[in-house]
Amino acid sequence: MSVVSIVAIARLTLREAVRRRLLWALAGLTVVIVILTFWAFSRIAEASPISGPIEMLGVSQVTVMLAFMFSFVLAMTAVFAGSPAIGADIESGLLLAVLARPIRRSEVLLGRWLGLAVVLVGYALVAGYLELAAVDLATGYTPSDSFAAPWYLAGEALILLTLAVVMSTRIASVAGGAVAVVGYGLAWMAGVVGGVGVAFNNDLLRGAGTVSHLLLPSDIMWRGTAGALTPPLDVLSAGGIADAALYQFSPFSGAAPRPEWLAWCVVWVVGMLALGTWLLSRREL
C-alpha cells in the first residue's frame, strides 16, 4: 500500500471540500454559533452570576446541550460527506479513470477517509475550542476537561464517518446515509438505556448499552464529551449531586471512557476500514 497515493487522494478530497465550499460553510456557521454562544451565555451570567455549584451545574448543562447540537452537526456532516465518498464516484464513472492509474482501491478508500477525517477533526477542534473559550469568557465557567472535550467530539465524528464511508462501498449514497443516521440515533438511545441500567443496577439494560457500544461506539465518545464538559467532581460533590442516579443516566452526562473502550474505538475504526477495503475490492466497477 502506498502512503503517497493515500495522501494524494486525501489532498484531492480536502481540495474538493474547499472548492465545494464545505469548509467555508462550516467556518461561517462556526463564527455565527460562537457569537450567539457568547451573547447567550453572557445573558445567563448577567441574570444569575455563576457563584455556586448549582449555578455552575446549570451552566455546564447548557454547555453540554450546546455540545450536543454541535455533535449532531458533526455527525450529519460526517454522514453526508462520507456516504457518497466512494459509491457516488463509482456510479458517476469518476473512479474508472482514477483506478486505471497505478493506485489500489484500498488507497482510494483510505485517502477519501483521511481527507474527510482531516476536515471533520479540524472543524471539531477549532470550533470546539472557540465555543469553550466563548463560554469561559462569558461566564468564567471552566469544565472538568476542556482540552479533551473537542477531541471526543472529533472521535464521534470519525466513527460515524467510518461507518458512512464503509457503507458507501456497497450501498447507494442515500441508503448508506440513512443507515448511518439511524445507527447514530440508535447508538445514542442505547447509551441512554445502558446509563439507566448502570444507575439502577439492571444487568439487561446495562448489557444492551454495552452491546450497542461494541456495535457502534459513537456514544462512548459522546459520553466522554458530556463528562469532559461537566464541572469538576469536587464541585458536583459540594452540590450533593455527584452520585445522584438521575444525574448518572441523563443523556447529557457522562465520564471519560475507560482506556479499554478507547482502544475498542480504535480497533473498531481500523476493522471497519479493513472491511470497507475488502468490500470495495470485490465490487464490480
Binding site: L12, G93, L96, A97, A100, R101, P102
Partner: protein, 323 residues
C-alpha cells in the same frame, strides 16, 4: 487473442458482447472469474503496469469542480510522473486535444465533446505504452473525430499500442491495423484491414443461365445467386473478364458487371448473423473465462502488448465464416 506492441487494434462487437468488460479486465477494474491474460507483459490488474497505460472510459467523467489543467495535473500525479514533467506534459496534451483555450474553465461546464477530449488527453498523459480507448468518438463532432484519427495516427507513428473499442465501424476501418469481433464474450473473428481490402469480388447481372451461373461462378470464387445477380466473392480482379466470357459462352446475357469489396460493416453483420457461437450460454462465462489458460499462455509472445484468454478455439472455428 494477442495484440502486439505498436498495433492499432479494433475491438468490435454488438451491445452486450463483452467489449467494455474485456477492457475492464485488462485494466484490473474487474476480476476474471477464470482464465488469465497479460498486459504489457504483466498479469491482469498489475498495479505497476498501469503506470504505462492510458485509458479513456466509455463513461468519461472528471472532477467537475476542477479545471482541465487541474484534472491533467491530478493524473500526472496519479500516474507517477516526475513533478518537473507535469507542466510541459500538460501543455502539450492540452494543445493536442484542442483544449488550451479552455484549460482554466471548470470541467463541470464543459460540453460532452469537450469532456471526451479531456478524457483523451488524460489517456495520453505520460506517453503510455498502451492506450485503451473505449468509444473515443461517441460525443465528438466530425472535426473531433478527425482529430481523434489524427491522434491515433500519431500514436501509431511513435509505436504506442492502441486498443480501440468502438461501434463506429467506418472509423475503425480507417484507423485500425487489425480488428477482433466479439459476440457473447467470445472472439468470433480476427482480421487485418489488409485482409479486408483484399476480399474483393464482383456482382454480375446475368440472365438466361439459372443455376449454371452459380456453377460457373464457383470456379472463380464463392458464388451465390440473388435474383438476376450473380455474386462471386474472392475472385481476382484480373479474372473478371474471363468469368464474364465464360458466362457469355454458356449462353448468359450480361446486363451489368460491378466490382465489389467488403466493408468492415458487411463482414461484421455477416459474422453476427451467421456465426454459430451465439448461444446465450457463452455469455455467462465472461470474456476472459472462455478458454483454458493453457490454450493461450504459450501463444503470448515475449513482446506482447496485450493478450487475454478469449475463446481462441471459437475464433479459429470461425475463420472460414461466410464472406
Amino acid at each position: 487473442m494477442t495484440v502486439p506492441r505498436g498495433e492499432v487494434f479494433g475491438f468490435l462487437g454488438p451491445n452486450g458482447a463483452g467489449k467494455t468488460t474485456a477492457v475492464k479486465l485488462l485494466l484490473g477494474l474487474s476480476r476474471p472469474t477464470t482464465g488469465e491474460g497479460r498486459v504489457l507483459g504483466a498479469p491482469l490488474g498489475d498495479v505497476p503496469a498501469r503506470r504505462r497505460i492510458g485509458y479513456l472510459p466509455e463513461l468519461f467523467r472528471y472532477q467537475g469542480w476542477m479545471s482541465a489543467r487541474e484534472v491533467l495535473a491530478l493524473h500526472c500525479e496519479l500516474a507517477g510522473l516526475e513533478r518537473a514533467e507535469w507542466e510541459p506534459e500538460i501543455r502539450a496534451t492540452l494543445d493536442l486535444v484542442g483544449l488550451t483555450a479552455s484549460a482554466e474553465r471548470r470541467t463541470g461546464v464543459y460540453s460532452k465533446g469537450m469532456q471526451q477530449r479531456l478524457g483523451l488527453g488524460v489517456a495520453l498523459l505520460g506517453r503510455p505504452g498502451l492506450v485503451v480507448l473505449d468509444e473515443p468518438t461517441s460525443a465528438l463532432d466530425p472535426v473531433g473525430r478527425q482529430d481523434v484519427r489524427r491522434i491515433i495516427g500519431a500514436l501509431r507513428d511513435r509505436g504506442t499500442t492502441v486498443f480501440l473499442n468502438s461501434h463506429l465501424l467506418t472509423e475503425v476501418e480507417r484507423v485500425c491495423d487489425r480488428v477482433a469481433i466479439v459476440d457473447h464474450g467470445r472472439v468470433v473473428s480476427e482480421l487485418t484491414m489488409a485482409d479486408l481490402r483484399h476480399e474483393r469480388g464482383v456482382a454480375i447481372r446475368v440472365t438466361g443461365l439459372d443455376d449454371r451461373g452459380r456453377d460457373v461462378g464457383a470456379v472463380y470464387g464463392s458464388a451465390r445467386v440473388d435474383g438476376e445477380w450473380l455474386n462471386v466473392d474472392g475472385v481476382a480482379e484480373a479474372e473478371i473478364p474471363a468469368l464474364v466470357a465464360r458466362l457469355v459462352a454458356d449462353g448468359g446475357a450480361i446486363h451489368a458487371v460491378v466490382p465489389t469489396h467488403h466493408t468492415l460493416e458487411e463482414r461484421f453483420m455477416a459474422l453476427l448473423d451467421t456465426g454459430p457461437d451465439t448461444e446465450p450460454a457463452a455469455a455467462s462465462k465472461g470474456f476472459a473465462a472462455s478458454g483454458a489458460a493453457a490454450d493461450t499462455a504459450g501463444e503470448v509472445p515475449a513482446d506482447a502488448g496485450t493478450s487475454a484468454t478469449a475463446g481462441s478455439s471459437a475464433g479459429a472455428a470461425n475463420s472460414g465464416a461466410p464472406k
